[in-house]
Symmetry: C2
C-alpha cells in the first residue's frame, strides 16, 4: 500500500476516514435502536457502505470496527501486534526472543518508515562535506522519514531545527541513554541548527509512582548529563514540560491543537490505552507531539510556523511521531522528519532494552572504572565458546556478543573494529580479550563524561533551561 505517512497534506487521512466510517456505523445503530423510518435507515446504511468503499480505496484494507488503519497503528485494541518472530516495540516496552535483537528490517516495513541506505548516507556526506557518524556507518541509526526533505532544505539554505528528548524516570542514566544525544550533538554540529531537548517529567509523573517534585528533580539531574555531552549553550534549549508549559505562549496552544485532532480511538489504537487509564496518559501524546512545531518556541523562531523539525530518536518513540505526522497537515503545520536508532542492548543480551532500574543490566554514567570492569566481565553476554580450545577452533559469534555490540556503538576506529570482528570470529581473539578492549574504551569515555558533568553548575542548567533567543535569526 501507499506510504501514507510520507504523503503530502491530505484532506482525508486514513484515520479520518476510519473515524467517519465508525461514526456513520454508530449513526446507523442509533437510528435502528431509535426505530427511525426505513428510508432514513436505508440512506444511512447506503452512506456507510460508500464510506467503507472509500476507506478501502484509500488504505487497501477492509474497514474493521475498533481497528484503525494498520500502517498508522502498531498495536491493535486487543494489545500488541507482534511480527511473526514475536518482536514487540512501543514507547514503554521492547521485547524480542532473538539474541541478535529486534528485526529492524521488519520494523521498517511495519512502521512504514524508510531504510537509511548507502545512498542516503552518501548524500549526507556530499551535502555536509563531513564523514558520516559511526552510528550512520554502522546502521545504528537505521531508519528515517523525510530525511531527503531536510537535505533539500539544507542545500537550499532553508532553516530547520532538531528536537529530541528524554523521559526522566530516575536520576541515573546509563550509556544507552547517551546514544540519541551523541548523535544529535553531531547533527547539530554538521548542520549548525537550533536544538530543543524535551524532558518529559510530566509523563514520568503520570506513568510512575512519583511526586511532581521528584519527577522535576530527575529532569534537572538528567539535564546535567545531557549538557555534559557537550551541547552548545547558544544553540540549545533544554526544557522540562512541567516548567516550560507554564512559560511559553506557544506550547499549550499547539498541545490543544493536536488534542483537538486526535480521538481516544486513535490513541487506543496507537498506544494501547484502555478505559481504565487516567486522562493524563490519554492526552499526553499531544505534549510530546507539540515540540515538533516551531511555533511552540516563539522565543527561538519568533512567529515562524514553517521551520521544519528533524527528530533523532530511538525507534520506540516513533508511534508518537506517526501520530504527529498524521495531525500536522490538518492543523496547518509541516510534518517532522525523523531519524530512528536501534535499541542499545542490555549487558545480558539484545533481547531487552537496558533498564535504569536494574543496575546490572547497564553501565551507568556514575559507574567507577572498577564497576565498569566488573560489570562487563561478569554480566556482558558472550558470543564466545565455552572453552578456550573450542573457541580457538570454532571462533566466537559477534552477532550475539554484547561486548562486540557495545564496541560498535563506542569504538570510533572502523579498521580496529573490523580487525576485532575477524579475530573474534576466527577464534584468534578470546572473550576476555574482547571484553578488555571494551573496558578500556568505556572507562575513559565515562570518566571524561563524569569530569565534564562535574563542571556543570546549577547556573548553567538554569541558562540552558531558560526560554530565550538562540544564536540564529528567524
Amino acid at each position: 500500500m501507499a506510504d501514507i505517512q510520507n504523503g503530502d497534506s491530505c484532506s482525508s487521512s486514513p484515520l479520518e476516514l476510519f473515524e467517519r466510517v465508525t461514526a456513520q456505523g454508530e449513526k446507523v445503530r442509533s437510528l435502528k435502536a431509535g426505530k427511525a423510518s426505513t428510508e432514513e435507515i436505508d440512506a444511512a446504511v447506503k452512506l456507510l457502505l460508500s464510506l467503507k468503499v472509500t476507506y478501502k480505496t484509500a488504505t487497501g484494507q477492509d474497514y474493521k470496527a475498533g481497528s484503525p488503519p494498520v500502517d498508522f497503528s502498531p498495536v491493535s485494541n486487543n494489545g500488541p501486534i507482534t511480527t511473526q518472530d514475536e518482536d514487540f516495540v512501543d514507547p514503554w516496552t521492547v521485547q524480542t526472543s532473538n539474541a541478535k535483537g529486534v528485526d529492524y528490517d521488519k520494523l521498517i516495513v511495519r512502521f512504514g518508515s524508510s531504510k537509511i541506505d548507502k545512498e542516503l548516507i552518501n548524500r549526507i556526506e556530499r551535502v555536509t562535506g563531513k564523514t558520516p557518524h559511526r552510528f550512520l556507518r554502522r546502521g545504528i541509526f537505521f531508519s528515517h522519514r523525510d530525511m531527503n526533505q531536510i537535505l533539500d532544505a539544507y542545500e537550499n539554505k532553508k532553516p530547520f531545527y532538531l528536537y529530541t528528548g528524554r523521559g526522566p524516570s530516575s536520576e541515573a542514566m546509563h550509556v544507552g541513554h547517551l546514544i540519541p544525544f551523541i548523535f544529535t550533538k553531531w547533527l547539530q554540529e554538521i548542520f549548525n541548527v537550533p536544538l530543543v531537548i524535551q524532558l518529559t517529567d510530566d509523563e514520568k509523573y503520570l506513568w510512575k509512582d512519583l511526586t511532581i517534585e521528584r519527577a522535576y528533580e530527575y529532569a534537572i539531574e538528567n539535564a546535567k548529563d545531557i549538557i555534559a555531552c557537550g551541547f552548545d549553550i547558544n544553540k540549545t534549549f533544554i526544557f522540562s514540560d512541567l516548567d516550560y508549559l507554564g512559560m511559553s505562549s506557544g506550547y499549550y496552544k499547539n498541545v490543544v491543537k493536536v488534542q483537538k485532532h486526535v480521538t481516544f480511538n486513535q490513541v487506543k489504537g496507537i498506544f494501547g490505552f484502555t478505559d481504565s487509564d487516567c486522562i493524563g496518559k490519554i492526552s499526553f501524546p499531544a505534549i510530546q507531539a507539540a515540540p515538533s512545531f516551531s511555533s511552540s518556541f516563539p522565543q527561538i523562531f519568533k512567529d515562524k510556523k514553517d521551520i521544519q523539525c528533524l527528530i533523532p530518536c530511538a525507534i520506540d518513540q516513533d508511534p508518537y511521531f506517526r501520530m504527529t505526522r498524521d495531525v500536522a497537515p490538518r492543523i496547518g503545520y509541516l510534518k517532522p522528519a525523523l531519524l530512528h536508532s536501534v535499541f542499545f542492548p542490555a549487558l545480558q543480551g539484545a533481547q531487552t532494552k537496558m533498564s535504569a532500574s536494574d543496575p546490572n543490566t547497564s553501565i551507568f554514567l556514575t559507574d567507577t572504572p572498577k564497576q565498569i570492569k566488573t560489570k562487563i566481565n561478569k554480566h556482558a553476554f558472550s558470543g564466545g565458546k565455552d572453552t578456550i580450545e573450542e573457541h580457538r577452533k570454532y571462533g566466537g559469534n559477534c552477532e550475539v556478543d554484547v561486548s562486540y555490540m557495545y564496541l560498535t556503538f563506542f569504538l570510533e576506529d572502523d579498521d580496529k573494529l573490523e580487525q576485532m570482528k575477524q579475530a573474534y570470529t576466527s577464534g584468534a581473539l578470546l572473550t576476555g580479550e574482547l571484553k578488555k578492549v571494551l573496558i578500556e574504551t568505556l572507562q575513559p569515555l565515562i570518566a571524561a563524561h563524569q569530569q565534564r558533568r562535574k563542571q556543570i553548575t546549577d547556573e548553567m542548567v538554569k541558562q540552558f533551561m531558560t526560554p530565550r533567543k538562540l544564536a540564529f535569526d528567524f
Copy 2:
C-alpha cells in the same frame, strides 16, 4: 446513603472502589481467556466478590459494570440519566419538558448537593451583617456544597477565594450570562476576598468549529462585559486558559495532578464522552478543575496550597466540580465549596436554557432599548389568559410567565415584585402591563451596562488579565 461528596478526605472514594472492581473484573476475564490455572482464577474471583461487597457497603449500590457510582455521575455510559419527569442537565445541555423549568429539588437529590435553606441564608446575613442578595432571597442560588465551611472560615478570619468562569462561545453575551457575575460581585463585596475568573477559550476551541485565535478574541470580548459588571481590579484576576496556562508556574502542574487521578471510565461516566471524542475534550475537565486549588495562582497566594475556594456557578457546571471534589483529597488539596444557581429561562419559556446563537431567545447585552421592547413584547412567553375578559376573570400564571420570571432576577424591590405577582395572579394586572414593567427594568439596566462597557479600554482588560499580586496578603 451518606453524602459522599461532603465527606472528609477518604482514602478510597466510591469512584476508586468502582475502578478497583472494574480492574479486578478485567483481570478475571483475562485470566480466563489466558487459560490460567483454576487456583489463580478462583483467587481472582474471590477478590472480585469481596471488592464488590466493599463497594456496596461504601455506596449502598450494587456494582454495575460501566456505571460509576450514581451520586457521582449524573449520566451513565449509555447516555443521560433523566429523572422521571425527563429533566436533563449536563454542562452542554439542559432540557426539561416542564414549563416551570427544571425540578431543582430533584436535581439536589440527584447531584447530592444541599439546599440553600432559610437557616443558611440567615447565617449569611448574621455573619456578614448584610441583607442577603435577591438571588438568595428568591431561590435563584438554591443549592450548595460546604457553604457552612466557608462561613466557619470567615468567622475565624481564615481566608478563602472565589472562582467562577465563562465559556466564550461567541462575542455576544445575554442577560442570563450576567447572573453568576452579578452574584459573584456581591459575594466579593460582602466577604472582601480575591476572585479568579476563568475564560475557557480552550474548551470552546475544542468543542466548536472555531480557530484558536477566534476563541481567544471571544474571551477578550467577554472579559469586557464581565469587567463592566463592576469588579474591583485590585481584587480580581481574569484569565484565558490559552494564555494563562503558558504564564503560570502552578496551573499546569495542578492540571497534571488532576489528570493523573481521573480515568477515562470516570469522565465517560460523568460527562458522557465516547471513544470517538478527541483527547482534548477527554482531558479538559482537569483544566476547569485546577483553578479550584490556590496553588494554581502563585502570584496571588504565593506558596499557600490550603486557601479554600468557593465557586458560584450555574448548576450545570456541577459535574466538573463533583469530579474536582472527588480528586482534591487524593492530591492533598481542599475540596472547593459551591453555590449553584438555577438556569435563566429563554424568552420562549423555561423548558430550555437561553442560546447565544439564537438572537430571539435572549436579551443581549448589545440590544437597543427598542430591540428589548420588541423582543419582550413579541417573544416573552406569557402565563396570561387569551382574552382580557378571561384574564380578568381567572388571572395569570406567574409560574410559567417568562416576564415575571425575569423580574424575579432583575427587580430588586421585593414588595413591588410581590404586589405584581398578586395583581397578575388575580387578573388585575394584564400581560402587557407586566411586560411593560420588565421592559422598563431591563432597558436602563442594559443601557447602564453598555455605558460601563464603553469605558473599558484594552489597557484595562490587559491589567485585569495580567498575572499579579492582588490587594491581599498571603
